[in-house]
């Protein structure tokens, strides 16, 4: 589809138009953090950085009721939870986060076991991206098959070209949002593509592509003794990670009625693998750290065809002890 053009000053007008038929979310600064917030006329956007919280939360909330039940175990009645059906447009999604959804789709939209709760939210949400012209200090998307102007997972891509945005409709749903914008010239397109090249060149590179094969033979490697040592065993990295998607299922019940709930969970916790018998197959921090790295850079590539990291750098920023996944990638890359 041909590139469109939008003068920057006309952005609120366009968001206003979208908000007539959908809930519009856009990044805004609130309580010293930039996160998605409901957009309303006059709202100030913060498009200078990615959101602190990852996009997954919109589709895979931290805690979600799956269904309700009444009765006892012999005679239970199940009822679905009322879902929010509001059409949603998210503006300002960074290509790394959009890609994280494309990866989560491989898990939750697998046709053998489709997750209806996730699917419903995906279907009612349109993602409007904003290309990254300048990587932040912990960005490394190009090392994990991403791109600062990447389009995977997006319905529309905006590129900031100065006084205007180059707007690329990518899907039918995207076309419906921006179809009426005027067509952009070849010059606009050239400017956008030069900006993409510049951003790619600025991005540091780490040898992540060698990890999937290499790790296959490294389960017992001594490197794990070192990598995990400073890890405190919290889940800041996993919970702020746009692709970590493990959850625990529990019942929240009062006598004869309750809900089945799923909550985020993390392989960094010993409880994650604790069996009912009391046995725990992963008792040490070393085993748990190995699991997290293996899942992202070996198991997910083998099972789902891609590295489960989009290089957003959130884990680098939030780790309380500065465990830096980029250093981990380099260290494993250097193993002979």
């Amino acid at each position: 589809m041909a590139v469109k053009i939008l003068q920057k000053k006309d952005l609120p007008c366009l968001l206003g138009k979208w908000s007539q038929s959908a809930r519009v979310l856009a990044p805004a600064r609130q309580d010293e953090m930039t996160n998605l917030a409901p957009w309303e006329p006059g709202a100030e956007l913060d498009l200078g950085r990615n959101t602190w919280k990852p996009l997954k939360e919109l589709f895979f909330p931290r805690s979600e009721r799956m269904f309700a039940y009444t009765g006892d175990r012999m005679n239970a009645e199940l009822s679905p939870i009322d879902q929010d059906h509001e059409q949603t447009v998210v503006f300002g999604v960074r290509p790394c986060d959009a890609r994280s959804l494309a990866l989560l789709d491989r898990v939750f939209l697998d046709e053998r076991f489709t997750d209806d709760l996730y699917k419903a939210k995906r279907e009612r949400t349109v993602l409007v991206g904003l290309g990254c012209n300048k990587p932040l200090r912990s960005c490394f998307c190009t090392s994990v098959a991403g791109d600062p102007h990447g389009t995977e997972g997006l319905d529309v891509l905006f590129v900031d070209t100065g006084d205007e945005y180059a707007v690329y409709p990518l899907t039918g749903r995207g076309e419906a949002l921006v179809g009426e914008l005027p067509e952009g010239s070849g010059e606009v397109e050239a400017r956008a593509s030069a900006l993409a090249d510049l951003a790619r060149d600025m991005m540091p590179r780490y040898p992540a592509e060698v990890l999937p094969d290499k790790l296959t033979h490294m389960f017992e490697h001594e490197i794990w003794d070192r990598i995990h040592e400073k890890c405190l065993g919290c889940a800041a990295c996993a919970y702020l990670c746009p692709t970590c998607h493990c959850f625990d299922v529990t019942d929240e019940a009062k006598t004869t009625e309750g809900h089945r709930v799923r909550n985020w969970d993390s392989c960094m916790f010993p409880l994650f693998t604790l069996h009912t018998s009391g046995h725990n197959p992963r008792t040490s921090g070393k085993q748990r750290m190995r699991q997290r790295i293996m899942h992202k850079f070996n198991y997910f590539p083998v099972n789902s065809g891609a590295i489960a990291c989009v290089g957003c750098g959130r884990c680098v920023e939030v780790c309380p002890v500065n465990t830096d996944i980029r250093e981990v990638i380099s260290e494993i890359g250097e193993v002979k």
Partner: protein, 312 residues
């Protein structure tokens, strides 16, 4: 710095200890990272400055039976004293290397001061912090961006340190319990609104608990599944219970190192609650945690002549 490295080198070369837990330069501007040094020649990576925010004592109980040394600020050394009091460490196996602390940088405070601008480079020079980013540069004084725990720190010298490197500088710059006074001036509703706002930010990643030297239970009450004391949902009462009980478990034990606040990825700050408990324990029992390691833990003692009837 040279002296610190020399001490570490000599300890390892002389076979006095098996492992030194220290700080090394981190991968982001103004960040340090814990490092585990086992060979004398690796001592060169050790650093100490106002970026060394982690409380390294948290790692000590992991190495039972090993002869350990730990680089410790005043607050970190107080944690070691509490570990010893609570019989979590063998006093013969731990050497505290006290470092001269002027307080550490509060990253949240620095970020606020810079209106959230991204720092891409920085240098420290004594009390001066020079930071820069995309098209800007600023020079700040350390006291402007101190972590709130450091502002009210009463114990800059590391208690129980076998080795002291230089004099700890900078006296406290704020009243230790000003935060509690401020809280107590609020109405109960206002206070509850404040704490509720903190709980609401929590995502239950347990970074606070994992970073806290006082949180070393083999099984945390929130992780217990039979019986299950607290749910894992985002129900506000579940989150509140976690934080309130954690604070109560730390009454008379918390040394206000601020590790919980520094570790939190969501900006949850419950120091007001910890400080209130700290002051209550001081006023009621005349006890301050971490100053030495002799004697019982204050809330585990019982006196037959206790003035309160309810306790008899």
């Amino acid at each position: 710095m040279e002296e610190l490295r020399r001490v570490i080198r000599e300890m390892l070369a002389g076979g006095k200890v098996d492992l030194v837990i220290a700080y090394a330069k981190g991968s982001l501007p103004l960040r340090s990272t814990p490092v585990f040094i086992r060979n004398a020649e690796d001592a060169e990576c050790a650093v100490f400055d106002a970026t060394c925010e982690n409380n390294l004592s948290t790692y000590l109980p992991r190495y039972a039976g090993k002869r350990l040394a730990v680089v410790a600020k005043g607050c970190d050394a107080r944690s070691v004293q509490e570990y010893l009091r609570e019989r979590q460490l063998d006093p013969g196996n731990v050497v505290v290397i006290g470092v001269p602390c002027q307080g550490v940088i509060g990253r949240d405070r620095l970020s606020r001061r810079l209106s959230g601008k991204e720092i891409t480079g920085a240098e420290m020079d004594g009390d001066t912090v020079r930071v820069r980013g995309d098209g800007w540069e600023e020079t700040l004084q350390l006291f402007e961006v101190l972590h709130p725990s450091c502002e009210t720190c009463e114990v800059k010298e590391a208690p129980g340190a076998a080795i002291k490197l230089g004099e700890a500088a900078a006296a406290q710059v704020a009243e230790p319990f000003a935060l509690v006074d401020d809280m107590e001036r609020l109405t109960p509703d206002e206070r509850w609104a404040y704490f509720t706002a903190q709980f609401e930010k929590c995502i239950r990643c347990y970074a606070c608990r994992q970073a806290c030297p006082g949180c070393y239970c083999k099984e945390c009450f929130v992780d217990r599944s039979a019986p299950r004391w607290v749910g894992g949902t985002d129900d506000p009462s579940d989150t509140a219970i976690f934080h309130i009980i954690r604070a109560l478990h730390l009454a008379g034990r918390c040394v206000d190192c601020g590790a919980c606040v520094k570790a939190c990825p969501m900006g949850v700050d419950l120091r007001a609650l910890n400080k209130k408990l700290e002051r209550d324990v001081r006023e009621l029992f005349g006890f301050t945690a971490g100053l030495e390691h002799e004697g019982k833990q204050v809330l585990s003692t019982f006196r037959a002549d206790d003035p309160n009837d309810f306790i008899k």
